[in-house]
């Protein structure tokens, strides 16, 4: 799936190929495996150094599972995860630990992602201790203060506990923790969904500033299309474990191809009544199916306004429409 030009400047920091993650369903006293949930199926994409790839989809689409596979919180059932040229899909846990300082994660829930019994300073500084990054206490404290300031927090807050911070401030701590080891790649798993609207913009801006300043690469996962489009260079749309469309952010709104992408876009209201009046509303039938009961062939076909007979029979493959725009649909 990775066919981005690999010149020195356009290096891919991450290439995911044919990723599959199946979870066993276990039944009975003897814990027999009766079936598998295809949480992620044949997912492939590449992320260039310094860019932001947005990953959107609704519940059950597998975007969080993809993130966790990339960070090797799960061992993928199949597939390759090539990070900085090295396939990490098969590494052992201790081998992974040595690489972890390069790839970090920011979590969705600001309330459960910080250990309530640790001080803010200890939380942010822990990655440095784990990877033994500093020899003198002085350097450690300097770096800790720098991290706090980088995310807009006063370093003197380091001995407070998470409970004393607001949701937005906690996310800043989460970000500071993710930056502690100077990683090159950060997975942002719905980092603003749990925050108030007026705080979301603060965090989005912070993430963008940090990306510019530190040359970070982001995998940005969210269900809010407007936010994803705003922060991403390219966007991948997922449905029931598969990527259905990957494209440049501009194409996403101006030229969406996959029927699901079009429905998704039309479902996102724009805060402007005059424009809203003029928009088409594509309303899908039925609900998002559960991965346990995936429809045969193209998983989207039962709800697709343009479904044809063949959609029920074969799973569509990802095709190149233009260099940067790929779609998995028989219509193309």
């Amino acid at each position: 799936m990775a066919d981005e030009p690999t010149t020195d400047r356009d290096r891919n920091i991450l290439e995911v190929k044919d990723l599959k993650m199946y979870f066993p369903i276990v039944r009975g006293f003897r814990r027999r495996v009766v079936a598998h949930v295809h949480a992620v199926d044949d997912v492939g994409f590449a992320v260039k150094k310094g860019e932001t790839l947005g990953l959107v989809g609704e519940s059950g689409c597998g975007k969080s599972t993809v993130a966790r596979c990339i960070l090797r919180l799960y061992k993928p059932t199949q597939g390759q995860i090539v990070f900085n040229g090295q396939d990490i899909a098969g590494l052992t846990r201790s081998q992974m630990r040595r690489l972890r300082h390069q790839m970090q994660m920011i979590f969705q829930d600001p309330y459960s992602s910080l250990d309530p019994r640790q001080t803010a300073g200890n939380i942010v500084g822990e990655p440095m201790k784990v990877h033994r990054l500093f020899t003198t206490r002085h350097e450690y404290r300097e770096r800790l203060a720098e991290l706090f300031r980088m995310v807009g927090l006063d370093p003197s807050m380091e001995d407070r506990v998470p409970h004393e911070f607001s949701g937005g401030q906690r996310q800043r701590l989460s970000i500071a923790r993710a930056l502690a080891t100077d990683p090159s790649f950060i997975v942002c798993d719905e980092p603003i969904s749990a925050l108030d609207v007026s705080i979301q913009a603060q965090i989005i801006n912070l993430l963008q500033e940090l990306q510019e300043k530190l040359g970070l690469t982001y995998l940005f996962i969210a269900h809010d299309l407007a936010v994803v489009r705003h922060i991403s260079d390219r966007v991948a749309v997922m449905y029931l474990g598969r990527i259905v469309e990957i494209t440049h952010w501009k194409d996403l709104y101006e030229n969406p191809l996959h029927p699901y992408t079009r429905a998704l876009l039309s479902a996102v209201p724009i805060p402007d009544p005059t424009i809203e009046e003029m928009r088409d509303h594509i309303i899908l039938k039925g609900d998002v199916p559960s991965p346990l009961n995936a429809p045969p062939g193209c998983a989207f076909h039962p709800r697709c306004p343009s479904a044809r007979k063949e959609c029920r029979e074969t799973v569509p493959v990802m095709k190149d429409v233009t260099g940067t725009h790929k779609v998995a649909c028989v219509l193309f």
Partner: protein, 326 residues
């Protein structure tokens, strides 16, 4: 002509040993038959508390409706006791409510069919057979496939979107004159959200029900609401026709909200302008405008005067800001 529902100067407080919090601080609004009105604000602004107050669903203690009126069809329903028969007749009968979390709003140990029927039998005094037919019809109208089988199933067998549809069915089953939807789609996927709101919009249009949508999502109000009220720290700080407010917002908070939210149709370069700082703590409110510390238009005078009352700045357009921001 009297409004269908007119709330006047509603004040609701919550008393704990530490402090008294004014969740609703003199809120007034109205809604007419057949209108769709949006009540917009972030968490803690009092939008949900004001609805719960009108429906007299506030847990008391620690909550208490301190003052104000809620005139439904001209009659102040707040003068009835919360658990009085008159109030129970209105609540669920003439005024319906849909809540945010469909899982916790449905009784997990009763079948869906029973729950819909219960509402209808109570308010419309129907017999079982008619109630059952009505319930089935409602399920079909809501787009729930295999309505007959579903009738006998339990909430946990439904997905989030389906449960929300059942909630709407229950709320609409008694042909209420007013339907209040409190963050009806926040817990749902985007495409499901669009489906649900479309269903509600259509049903409501058909029966000329008034719809009050309480939400923090500006896009949702832009798409569905005719008029909106914007709330902050327990008060309404701007109100007016939806198009007027989006085109020319007259309160710095509204301006801030609009500038801080990314839009699908805007050019990429636009940097989001966040509202700095945090919402105020309702237990220690200053005497002046509560938005002052975060306001980019503020002047010294704002700190010295009490929080301004709503003033008219256009055709049915009101703002609680003393400054002329044009």
């Amino acid at each position: 002509m009297a409004h269908l529902l007119e709330v006047k100067n509603l004040v609701t407080e919550f008393r704990t040993d530490r402090a008294t919090v004014r969740a609703v601080d003199g809120v007034s609004y109205y809604i007419d038959e057949g209108e769709v009105v949006g009540l917009v604000g972030e968490s803690g602004c009092g939008k949900s508390a004001s609805q719960l107050s009108v429906f007299q669903l506030i847990a008391s203690p620690p909550g208490k409706i301190v003052s104000g009126e809620a005139l439904f069809e001209g009659e102040d329903i707040l003068k009835y006791k919360a658990d009085s028969e008159k109030m129970r007749e209105i609540r669920g009968g003439k005024m319906g409510m849909i809540f945010q979390e469909p899982m916790t709003s449905l009784n997990p140990s009763l079948t869906i069919g029973t729950q819909i029927m219960e509402s209808v039998m109570l308010h419309l005094k129907m017999d079982k057979r008619t109630a059952r037919e009505l319930a089935l019809e409602l399920l079909r109208l809501m787009g729930i496939p295999d309505a007959i089988e579903r009738f006998y199933q339990y909430p946990h067998q439904f997905s989030g979107g389906m449960r929300q549809r059942v909630m709407i069915a229950i709320a609409l089953s008694c042909n209420p004159k007013l339907l209040v939807a409190d963050e009806p789609t926040t817990a749902l996927d985007v495409t499901t959200q669009a489906q649900i709101l479309e269903i509600v919009k259509n049903m409501v249009k058909k029966s000329n029900t008034a719809l009050l949508v309480v939400t923090h999502n500006l896009g949702v109000v832009a798409r569905y609401a005719d008029r909106i009220y914007v709330m902050y720290a327990g008060r309404v700080i701007e109100s007016g026709k939806s198009k007027d407010i989006f085109a020319a917002p007259r309160h710095p908070y509204t301006v801030g909200l609009l500038k801080s939210v990314p839009r699908l149709d805007e050019p990429k370069g636009r940097k989001l302008v966040p509202i700095p700082g945090l919402p105020p703590s309702l237990s220690s409110m200053p005497g002046h405008c509560a938005f002052y510390p975060r306001c980019s238009y503020r002047v010294d005078a704002c700190k010295q005067k009490p929080w301004p009352e709503l003033r008219n700045v256009g055709d049915d357009h009101y703002t609680a800001c003393a400054l002329d921001m044009r």
